[in-house]
Amino acid sequence: MPTIIDITEDKAIEVKNFEFTYAGSDEPNLKNISMPIAKNRVTALIGPSGCGKTTLLRSFNRMHDLYPGNSYAGEILFEGRNILQEKEDMIKLRTQIGMIFQKPTAFPMSIFDNVAYGLRLKGIKNKSELADRVEKALKDAAIWKETSARLKHDANGLSGGQQQRLCIARAIAVEPEVLLFDEPTSALDPISTQGIERLIIELKEKVSILIVTHNMQQAARVSDYTGFMYLGDLIELGRTEDLFVTPCEKLTEEYITGKFG
């Protein structure tokens, strides 16, 4: 049985007996996962390649639904409802639970339009409201200084680190409750990585964060809780300092001490 800490803080999301099966797979790729995601905290998921951490992350905003044949079982409770239900409004869900990807994904449009994109999708047309919210998002993502003078320029002219901040600004502009980060610094240099990590820690005042990382130091630096996954199972979830110093499971200990992975 996995060791899952019972958190006493408010929970943003509660996963119960969750299973996920990719199209064409005979058995579940994620097995019987139960975990809380604390509100206004950073929860990190670590584990070797192929352990299912990204698959789990992409279940929270139902990204798997974009490809036919994938199936979920169990419950992911968010705001009192099970978001795995058939009738879940995917568009609303994705504005409540935002996502940052492995590589910067600036759209082929201007910096302003990138950040305004989600707002416009929500139906906000008022120019001054758009301008205010874009400015606020860019400030919150710590990229206002570099972009304020060139909001109309093509976003692809920004550096990789700046583009990733732009993507964060774009995600927080719609004021989500939860942000999912999928190895957000894997394509970035150390300086940009440091900036993104600092930003993640600042952002948790406003949103609950779940981050997948292949970098254990990163998990240790940014997260309050860490979950260790292995072969589709969640092996252990605990407070980050406990998990890295005194892991309960043998497998966790072997992984964090570098015996495999």
Partner: protein
């Protein structure tokens, strides 16, 4: 040794590249040379005269020029939106099991020789147009539609390939912000593939404006500026194909070369303009 090989490679590719320039130049030279007598005799009024009467030694190119431009414009007007629609379906909407069979059949359509489109147009399509729109059935409208059908599969195939290069992660980013399929196509896929889509349209345009066989069957070869869309007309390639065999007089013969030169210049100008106007725009800052 390696340096020698590199040098050889450099020179051989360079000479092949230069050869294409040389051939283009040579074709232009021959056209110019053969058209010289007609250019001397008729001057620039050739371009605006509307009367084409070889028996009276009267040669005016305007009807053929207008016919070429109108039939091509009509074909593009029909084909471009359809081709984009087909490629959106194939790259973003169609279930996986349809993608390959529909894709392959579109590529097969693109491989049908134009003379077959012409025959099909004449024997099958002309009566339909006649019944629907009146007139002879042979004319500008039919030519435009047959041309559109002919360039559509090629354009759809190239456009689909361009759309397929949109990275999944970029599309997912738009979905992750609450985008619908239509939002993603409109805001991510089409802008991302823009250069490829325009390139496909330019190639299709080049093919349509020079197309001879398919149009010869259904356009009517009448040297008159059409006043109705269903009127018979002619285009430059159609006039050339029909009339070279019967060009007995020296001025007639030379006039046809003059006409060919005009087509050469029109194609060149349109394609150069299209490239400049559409492909450069994407590189500048978005406003």
């Amino acid at each position: 040794m390696n340096r020698f090989l590199d040098r050889f490679f450099h020179l051989s590719t360079l000479s092949i590249a230069l050869l294409t320039l040389l051939v283009t130049g040579a074709i232009f030279g021959v056209l110019l040379d053969e058209a010289k007598p007609a250019m001397d005799a008729l001057g620039l009024s050739f371009l605006i005269d509307t009367k084409w009467a070889p028996n009276l030694e009267k040669f005016g190119a305007l009807p053929a020029i207008v016919g070429s431009i109108l039939s091509t414009a009509l074909a593009m007007f029909i084909a471009v939106p359809l081709a984009i629609g087909v490629s959106i379906f194939l790259s973003e909407i169609s279930p996986q099991i349809f993608k390959t069979p529909v894709g392959v059949s579109i590529e097969l359509l693109a491989a049908i020789p134009s003379v077959v489109y012409g025959m099909w147009g004449l024997f099958y399509f002309v009566p339909i147009i006649r019944d629907l729109f009146g007139g002879l059935g042979i004319g500008l409208l039919t030519a435009g539609i047959v041309l559109a059908i002919m360039i559509l599969p090629f354009m759809a195939a190239v456009t689909r390939d361009a759309m397929n290069t949109t990275p999944d992660i970029l599309k997912e980013s738009a979905y992750a912000l609450g985008g619908t399929k239509w939002d993603v196509v409109k805001d991510v896929v089409i802008p991302y593939a823009k250069a490829g889509i325009i390139g496909a349209a330019i190639l299709a345009l080049g093919r349509a404006i020079g197309e001879t066989m398919a149009v010869t069957f259904v356009m009517g070869n009448v040297h008159k500026i059409p006043s109705l869309i269903t009127d018979p007309a002619t285009s430059i390639p159609v006039a050339l194909a029909n009339e070279f065999t019967e060009a007995d007089g020296a001025l007639y013969f030379s006039s046809l070369f003059y006409l060919a030169l005009v087509l050469f210049v029109i194609s060149f100008v349109i394609i150069a303009f299209a490239k400049y106007a559409f492909l450069n725009r994407g590189k500048r800052a978005v406003s």
